[in-house]
Amino acid sequence: MTDEVVSLINLSKIYSLPSGDVIALNNISLQIKKGEFVAIIGPSGSGKSTLLNQLGCMDVPTSGDLKIGDKSVNSMTDQEMTTLRLTTIGFIFQKFNLLPLLSAHENVEYPYTLKYRKRDTTNRITKLLKLVGIDEDLAKHKPNELSGGQQQRVAIARALVNNPMILLCDEPTGNLDSKTGIMVMNILRRLNKKGKTLIIVTHDPAIAEQADRIVTIRDGKIVL
């Protein structure tokens, strides 16, 4: 068992379009260790989102391999990849992506219920929401009744609820004002210090600078 929680080995992703093949990721190799904070930066269209989708087991590579822990994604079925997203990876999106039908509390509880097939009776949801600064009254509100910062904090609590190994963040402060953005980054850094592996895709150099390592992508290749 190695320290590496994520390993990309000569991974390529090619999209076949009528106009011809588009190489989104070109023979990428990358290892990320447990507890590491990695920022992935690069210009628009460089392949950041494609890489994030690969890391999040949302897509399969055209060639090469991706390992999460010691499990190779290549040999996984859709069901196994979905289970991996439920138990091992926590997603945090730029647009928060909370479920509009559910309250903040239920949004956090949803992945927990999927994993354990029961409602939370341990008060874990309330504790997590408290950890990110959402009190019980606020937790009763639907996402459209919360501010952007509050929604993103609920999204962080949701990502944490099944105690994932990796937190994948896609521009987590992109839709927030600078003050709220700093608050959200403080939460994420605190989680990283507690041992969570943090992978952030960002355009913001100020955020990237806080990372242990910056990975720059250009034209589907890692350049630094």
């Binding site: 997203r85 479920l99 039908l101 239920e106 509880e109 999927l114």
Partner: protein
């Protein structure tokens, strides 16, 4: 709520309540149409059977002459066409335990009063049979001698006869002893336009003593018709065909079967409304999937399996189906009751098992149609590429 997938489906139905209700209304209309048509069929069959059952409890036995019978009334007798006394006794022996057996003579002959002459059906019955079969008289009493007769109500009305009126049948002058109550059409005899004389008078006028044009059996239980018919046939026609048995219950069953066929056809036509509802639900479910593509992407990205997405949409279709089917069932009871009252004039059979069974049947069909309509949209939602789905606005 234990199942969060069901809870989300329920909330989506509630949030889009207007759209859900509109979709359910389609199912409601279909369920009402199918259930009402089914119940109408059952009630109509019951009413028709009721009306015909007075005819259906009779079997008519005639001598086999090799000619096919036309049915619907007694034959004009000739001496070769008659049943013998011994045949009558055999029939009596076989059918006596199932009902009342009596011999009947019949002929078409002229009756005269002064210069007026009418061609009329003349029946010959013994007095006991008269009192048993023609047990309702509107006026007068039964014949006390061979010279007194009974007449049908139409014959009396058309020719101005009353109790005590005199006229002649064949060569004999007779007197009206009583007027029979209207019996309508019947398999055994049609007395409304006829003259009924004693069997003694009949044989003295037309010959054929100890012979009968036909032997009729009035069954105690209509369900014995086939048994009696088969028994007479197997015992009396074993060596050679002697008699022909006409079973009126077969005619009634054929009419009931025609009514059932007609109402089944109407039910199939009514089912078209359910197909329209199915298209509407399909459309609404497709809209729901399209509107929630991003939500599907989020659900998939945070670990929801395809089967759970499929379940969520199927729950929605089922909830709409249940809403439509239950309201359809309730409305069917009210609308069906009024509909049957207007169409048939009575609701005697409405609350019977055979009638009410159409309610769960129509509900089940409505629900199944709804679920089937939801399968493709649900499958499509479940199989959305999560990356594509997350990109949708």
């Amino acid at each position: 709520m234990k199942d969060i997938i069901f809870a989300m489906a329920l909330r989506n139905v509630k949030i889009n309540y207007f759209r859900s209700i509109l979709a359910a209304v389609g199912i409601t209309i279909g369920v009402v149409a199918i259930a009402s048509m089914g119940m109408l069929g059952t009630n109509m069959t019951g009413a028709v059977t009721d009306q015909l059952s007075s005819m259906a409890d009779k079997l008519t036995v005639t001598a086999y002459t090799g000619k096919s019978g036309g049915g619907g009334g007694p034959q004009v007798s000739t001496s070769n066409d008659n049943l013998t006394k011994s045949q009558y006794k055999n029939i009596q022996k076989i059918a006596g335990k199932y009902g009342y057996v009596y011999g009947l003579d019949s002929i078409r002959d002229k009756v005269k009063k002064n210069k007026d002459t009418w061609n009329t059906q003349v029946y010959g019955l013994d007095l006991t049979a008269m009192k048993t079969i023609l047990n309702n008289l509107t006026e007068g009493g039964y014949p006390t001698s061979d010279n007194s007769v009974l007449i049908g109500p139409n014959f009396a009305l058309d020719n101005g006869f009353k109790v005590g009126s005199q006229f002649s049948v064949g060569s004999r002058g007779v007197k009206v002893a009583g007027i029979i109550e209207s019996r309508g059409m019947s398999m055994d005899m049609n007395t409304d336009n006829a003259v009924v004389i004693t069997q003694n008078l009949f044989s003295s006028l037309y010959g054929g003593k100890d012979e009968y044009s036909q032997v009729n059996i009035v069954l105690n239980d209509i369900n014995d018709a086939s048994t009696v018919s088969d028994e007479i046939d197997s015992l009396m026609n074993r060596r050679e065909t002697q008699v022909r048995v006409q079973d009126s219950s077969r005619m009634v069953s054929s009419i009931s079967s025609s009514v059932t066929t007609m109402t089944s056809f109407a039910t199939i036509i009514a089912s078209i409304s359910l197909l329209v509802a199915a298209v509407s639900i399909f459309n609404i479910m497709m809209m729901s999937v399209t509107e929630r593509i991003r939500e599907i992407g989020v659900l998939r990205s945070i670990g929801t399996q395809k089967i759970e997405i499929l379940r969520m949409f199927m729950y929605e279709a089922t909830l709409i189906g249940i809403l439509g089917a239950v309201s359809g069932m309730i409305l069917s009871i009210v609308i069906g009751f009024v509909f049957i009252q207007v169409m048939i004039g009575n609701t005697k059979y409405f609350f019977t098992y055979d009638s009410l069974i159409h309610l769960p049947y129509a509900m089940f069909v409505g629900l199944i149609i709804c679920i089937i309509s939801g399968i493709y949209p649900a499958w499509r939602g479940a199989n959305k590429d999560p990356i594509e789905a997350l990109r949708a606005d």
